[in-house]
């Protein structure tokens, strides 16, 4: 434990770790020193001069080195000037006065200065109601302006920094929190100051503007209404909003969120989601959220939401009752016996997946996870130990990222891994091409697509890099699906698990394997026993298929063809998709925002989400629909209460044994202290009152011998002459059904691309921006050429979910 220091703030004695800043120490003591530029997650700069206080330190006798005593107390020497609480670290015996006339005068003066150039347009400002400047003006500011209104500096009020974030230059108080967030936290210095003095302006330095997937966070920590999101701008007043705790469903990080909702005339009187805000969980997302999580929520309010059950009659889908729809599905499932197949995705909650698996088990069918990524059995075995916190990794620890572009696949993990590297953890990035994380890596390993397993196995050999990894106090391996399909990821996961076992990095907190899954709850699906299938088309053909939360027809022409030949297709989803169009029965499910349940994150943290808006039409939660079908098949599955399903799940799955639904909702005090009453300190991020979740204990942590199953990797594909090896890569903003309804993100989604090495492009006679046709294995599509000189000349990178159905490396022709 670090050295502790005792000091007195406004007569209150408090003991805090050495190095704590006075402003933070006061916060711990329950005393709010007003701040604007200071943010507990950022380096101190002392710019805004709001936190001026009187600071005294014990006087030392120069001759003896002893503290000078006066009336039995140490004599305190105060500095002649006020000091900034945000830049001064605490020291033993320090006395801080925040409420004296002198301190108050300083604080009041700063507010008055800030207001001289402020437009005071609170009545039309989005920040009004949760604005630090507004709050601190009420508390510390002068009641009357001595500055002549006509002399106010007028500046542009509608400046798009990018298409997502708008700047109001008049409201900006030049605290640089946004610039510093991008520099220090995100590691992308895309914002800066231009001009100087009173003309100092925030500008975007990137093309396209504000080119960062973390841009929304700057609006949370902006202490005024200068930065607003294109999504929420002029959308509602903060005090009209209701808040409900939720979990982001866009990636496996499992960011804790708050959904802000409002009843709205524009939505026909419905209650709708107005914005998604981060909710503090220091072990998951801290107080941050990526822009996909923040802005992609629009699909839950999409016009394409399914509202009523439908049954195919005379080639057309027609409205039906729940009873008739579930009965039809049940009859067909029962009739097909062993030819009953459930295809479900990791978009579903644990309880949904558990009921689906139970149904398959009882009915004698099979439940398949819709995913082209393997290794979930291994993350259950040697996954990160309970108590893992990326935020605590640093000097002496190691993180290996294999076959994953974390920035695109799980932005908050990118952020947390980057910061662990900043704190001194040895970051090793192994990927065939350069990714954004390489900039922060101690070691970058480049291998050829297809050589993933070899790259990991080479760690077994002696080298500087493998030594560093082996000797690390703690080590975590992230594996992803860059350039890999199901077999490839399974093989890589196995190699990574071996490496962790060999180097003793399993069975402990902050050690183990993490899968960078393609969906939020893929890990949960593996935990309840669903697994992906190598030849999915074969597995579906001629079967009675129950498709839940996924769109195989839209994704892949091969699967579309397989389903044409299926006996019966029931589709349960929240949105109309290409798959619902071919269905015999369509069952409308509730979105995550309309119900409650739990997800299991990639770090195997089980977390609860809550209902924020009323359900769409007659839709029902997935686990309920499944239990209704089960009932018609004379199978009893819990279908009333999600908490009961969870408790049954916890009783039947070993890893969940010690969990209860209530336990997931427990909270503990977190640092920094954030909260709605004190928005000026941490920003508008929400305090966590609804659960920090519980991390599952991996088998390796329970004890016993750990056996890693060997996975034989298929031979590396060698494309013929005039062919390229097309490999799948992952893109944050893709055309997935949970992204595309957010029109705001259109620009970032862009067109389907194919990345080529300059040599390959030259051979094909194409330049960057050229439109080409790419075809392989019965699939073909158009794409725009991008040039990447960090890849090899024999490959073509094709992003997943961008209209070209690529699941694994494949030989392709590009024209």
């Amino acid at each position: 434990m670090s050295k502790q220091v005792t000091l007195t703030i406004d007569g209150k004695q408090i003991t805090v770790p050495d190095g704590t800043l006075v402003a933070d120490a006061a916060k711990l003591a329950g005393i709010d020193i007003p701040v604007f530029c200071h943010h507990p997650k950022l380096e101190p700069v002392g710019m805004c001069r709001m936190c001026l206080v009187e600071i005294g330190r014990p006087m030392f006798d120069r001759a003896t080195g002893q503290i000078v005593m006066e009336n039995g107390q140490p004599k305190i020497q105060f500095m002649p000037k006020l000091e900034t609480a945000c830049t001064n670290p605490v020291s033993e015996g320090m006395v801080v006065l925040t409420q004296t006339a002198k301190a108050k005068e300083g604080q009041k003066g700063t507010v008055e200065f800030l207001l001289t150039s402020h437009p005071l347009d609170c009545p039309i400002c989005d920040k009004g109601g949760e604005c630090p400047l507004q709050n601190l003006t009420m508390e510390h500011g002068p009641g009357k302006s001595r500055f002549i209104y006509d002399e106010k500096l007028h500046l542009d009020k509608q400046v798009p920094l990018g298409e997502l974030i708008w700047l109001d230059r008049e409201r900006c108080i030049q605290c640089a929190r946004c610039i510093r967030f991008q520099d220090e936290i995100a590691g992308e210095a895309v914002l800066g100051f231009d001009e100087r003095g009173r003309n100092t302006q925030i500008v975007s330095l990137s093309d396209p503007g504000f080119d960062s997937v973390f841009s929304g966070n700057t609006t949370d920590i902006c202490p005024v209404g200068a930065l607003t999101t294109a999504d929420f701008r002029f959308g509602a007043r903060p005090w009209e909003l209701k808040a409900q705790a939720s979990i982001c469903t866009q990636c496996p990080v499992g960011c804790n969120t708050t959904l802000n909702t409002r009843r709205e005339a524009k939505a026909g009187g419905d209650i709708v989601i107005k914005r998604v805000m981060p909710r503090q969980n220091e072990e998951v997302n801290e107080i941050w959220l990526c822009d996909k999580g923040r802005f992609a929520h629009h699909y839950v309010g999409s016009k394409k939401r399914l509202a009523r059950p439908q049954i195919r009659k005379d080639e057309k889908l027609a409205r039906a009752s729940w009873d008739a729809a579930t009965k039809l599905a049940a009859e067909n499932f029962s009739a097909s016996k062993k030819d009953f197949v459930i295809l479900a995705s990791g978009r579903l909650a644990n309880e949904d997946l558990f009921n689906l698996k139970s149904l398959a088990d009882h009915a004698g069918g099979r439940a398949i996870l819709y995913s082209d990524m393997g290794g979930g059995d291994l993350t259950a075995l040697v996954g990160v130990g309970a108590g893992t916190n990326l935020g605590k990794l640093g000097e002496g620890d190691a993180i290996l990222v294999v076959a994953s572009d974390l920035y695109e696949e799980a932005p908050i993990w990118y952020l947390r891994v980057k910061q662990a590297a900043d704190r001194g953890a040895a970051l090793i990035v192994a990927n065939p091409r350069e990714t954004k994380l390489d900039k922060f890596a101690k070691f970058s390993i480049r291998y050829s697509y297809g050589d993933e397993v070899k790259a990991v196995n080479d760690f077994g050999k002696k080298s500087k890099i493998s030594d560093e990894f082996a000797k690390a106090k703690n080590a975590i391996v992230f594996f992803g699906s860059e350039g890999l399909g199901l077999n490839g990821t399974s093989a890589v996961a196995s190699a990574c698990a071996d490496l962790l076992k060999e180097t003793g990095h399993i069975g402990r907190a902050s050690n183990g394997l993490i899968g960078v899954w393609q969906r939020a709850n893929d890990q949960g699906a593996w935990e309840v026993g669903l697994q992906p299938e190598e030849d999915l088309a074969k597995a579906l053909k001629g079967k009675a298929v129950y498709i839940v939360g996924t769109d195989p027809v839209g994704d892949d022409p091969k699967l579309a063809k397989a389903l044409e030949g299926a006996e019966f297709v029931a589709v349960q989803d929240i949105l109309e998709t290409a798959t619902t169009e071919i269905a015999d029965v369509v069952l409308p499910a509730q979105a995550f925002s309309e119900r409650e349940g739990t997800f299991t994150s990639g770090e195997r943290r089980v977390q609860r989400f809550y209902a924020a808006v009323p359900p769409t039409g007659d839709s029902k939660p997935d686990f309920v629909i499944t239990s209704m079908i089960a009932k018609q098949m004379n199978i009893v599955l819990e279908g009333t209460s999600v908490s009961v399903v969870f408790d049954i799940l916890a009783n039947s799955i070993e890893a969940f044994t010690d969990l209860s639904y209530a336990k997931l909702a427990e909270v503990r005090p977190q640092w920094p202290i954030v909260g709605r009453g004190d928005v000026y300190y941490g920003g508008t991020t929400y305090e966590n009152k609804h659960g920090l979740g519980v991390q599952l204990v991996p088998a390796a942590q329970v004890g016993g011998t750990v056996r890693i199953p060997k996975v034989k990797k298929e031979a590396v594909l060698r494309p013929k002459e005039k062919e390229l090896l097309a490999v799948p890569v992952n893109k944050l903003y893709d055309r997935g059904v949970t992204v595309s309804p957010a029109e705001l993100l259109d620009e970032r989604v862009g067109e389907a691309t194919v990345s080529l090495h300059p040599e390959a492009a030259e051979r094909l006679g194409v330049e960057a921006g050229a439109r080409v046709k790419i075809s392989f294995d019965g699939v073909s599509g158009e794409a725009v050429v991008k040039i990447d000189d960090t890849i090899s000349a024999g490959v073509a990178l094709v992003p997943r979910s961008m209209g070209i159905a690529i699941k694994e490396p494949v030989a392709a022709k590009v024209k």
Binding site: P44, V45, G46, M47, C48, R49, M50, L52, P80, K81, L82, T84, T87, G106, G109, T110, E112, F113, L114, T116, S117, R146, F147, I148, E151, L153, I173, Q174, G192, F193, E195, R196, G197, R198, N199, T200
Partner: protein, 428 residues
């Protein structure tokens, strides 16, 4: 050399110490400089003295920083953190204070003595790399210094293994981009690092965390130019000049309503009267001196009477007049000038040069500019003068760096010491 080339009589300087080009033609040529004792101090220090001994000589000489703060130079050098390496030496040649124009004359005319000073400072603190940071407008000076640095390198006074020892030194010049704030030591470092020129929070101070986060000594051009002769002639020689508080000589940049404005190298303790009337040839049209700004635009305004004129100029005595000597840029104001005009000028400057980092300086100067403009143009009310004084005082003691603090000096002292000029300027 000692006792020979420098003749002293009644504290009157007979030969220059810093402006030696005024006595020795072509001293900006390497052979001439060498012939006049150049680089002997450097060679002697590097080959025969320990770095700490060099620092001790400078400490004992009583040399204080000439950039404005007057901090003891040797003491600054001795603060360098010996646990953190490398060390850097920076020469602050950002000379931007209105009324200050001494460093330019040194660099243009006596460059080798200055650069030898940089080299000695570097040796004293164990720096193998030093930078001369010049304001952007000094691009010609920088080009000239580059030539001189190349000559020094060719002659073996810079580069690897100086004088056959294992000590090596490189000196580079670097141009700013036109910001007054970059004369502030931490803003200068930010600018040198390629960042926006804005001051850093202090502490930590440069001798522990400076350029690129490493211990750094930063000294003014004039300060460093003193060093070779101090090393050559000894601490006692230097201390024999000037006053008890402020040893040695100082270049006074004289400007304003005097007949002969210019740079005058004089020992500390010279009186204002002597500078203005003997060196400066008196006030234009023979008018009386009304006010003096001894430290450029950053200065407090001194009310001038006989007692003031007879005050010896050193760091301590000037303080008794309610001002700081600063960089000794003495601006003389006569009775034709109204003080409301003066502060309108200074605030115009500070409003333009405030870097914008901290609130009181950024907003305060913008506000004060509106007030001084209104008052000076005759559109102000008497309450505006009180408000101006109040705003200036509200800034004092709250700014991140000295710029904001200095911007208020002329305003507060102007209004408090020359109230009649403001009564005239405003409507009732």
């Amino acid at each position: 050399m000692k006792g020979k080339s420098f003749l002293w009589q009644n504290k009157r300087l007979m030969a220059h110490i810093l402006f030696r080009h005024r006595d020795i033609p072509d001293i900006n040529k390497l052979d001439v400089y060498k012939k006049n004792g150049g680089f002997a101090a450097l060679k002697n220090a590097v080959t025969k003295m320990k770095p700490a001994e060099v620092t001790d000589v400078v400490k004992n000489s009583g040399l204080r920083g000439r950039g404005g703060a007057g901090f003891p130079t040797g003491m600054k050098w001795s603060f360098m953190d010996s646990k953190s390496w490398p060390h850097y030496v920076l020469a602050n040649a950002d000379e931007s204070e209105p009324g200050t124009f001494k460093d330019r004359e040194i660099m243009e005319n006596n460059p080798f003595q200055f650069l030898e000073g940089v080299a000695l400072a570097s040796y004293a603190v164990g720096a193998n790399l030093a930078y001369v940071y010049l304001r952007g407008e000094f691009w010609q000076v920088a080009a000239f210094l580059d030539e001189k640095l190349a000559e020094m390198e060719d002659a073996g006074y810079l580069g690897e293994n100086l004088f056959g020892t294992d000590y090596s030194l490189k000196i580079h010049t670097h141009l700013g981009a036109g910001a007054y704030i970059c004369g502030e030591e931490t803003a200068l470092m930010e600018s040198l690092e390629g960042k926006r020129g804005q001051p850093r929070v202090r502490p930590p101070f440069p001798p522990s965390v400076g350029l690129y986060g490493k211990p750094t000594v930063i000294n003014n051009v004039e300060t460093l130019t003193n060093v070779p002769l101090i090393l050559a002639n000894g601490a006692d020689w230097y201390k024999s000049m000037g006053t008890a508080d402020s040893a040695g000589v100082k270049i006074f940049s004289l400007s304003g309503r005097v007949r002969k404005p210019g740079n005058y190298e004089l020992p500390f303790g010279t009186t204002f009267r002597q500078l203005i009337y003997e060196n400066g040839g008196g006030v234009q049209d023979g008018r009386p001196v009304k006010a003096i700004m001894p430290a450029g635009a950053s200065s407090s305004l001194i009310v001038v009477d006989d007692k003031t004129l007879d005050t010896p100029m050193d760091y301590a005595f000037v303080r008794t007049l309610g001002a700081d000597l600063g960089s000794a840029s003495v601006i003389v104001i006569d009775d034709t000038v109204s003080i409301d005009w003066v502060i309108n000028k200074t605030i115009h400057f500070f409003k333009h040069e405030s870097c914008g980092k901290c609130t009181p300086c950024r907003e305060g100067n913008y506000w004060m500019r509106h007030l001084t403009e209104r008052i000076h143009s005759g559109n102000g009310y008497s309450t505006d003068v009180d408000l101006l004084l109040n705003v200036a005082k509200q800034m004092q003691g709250k700014c991140l760096c000295a710029l904001g603090e200095f911007s208020t000096m002329a305003v507060v002292t102007g209004i408090e010491r020359f109230p009649q000029d403001f009564k005239k300027a405003v409507k009732a």
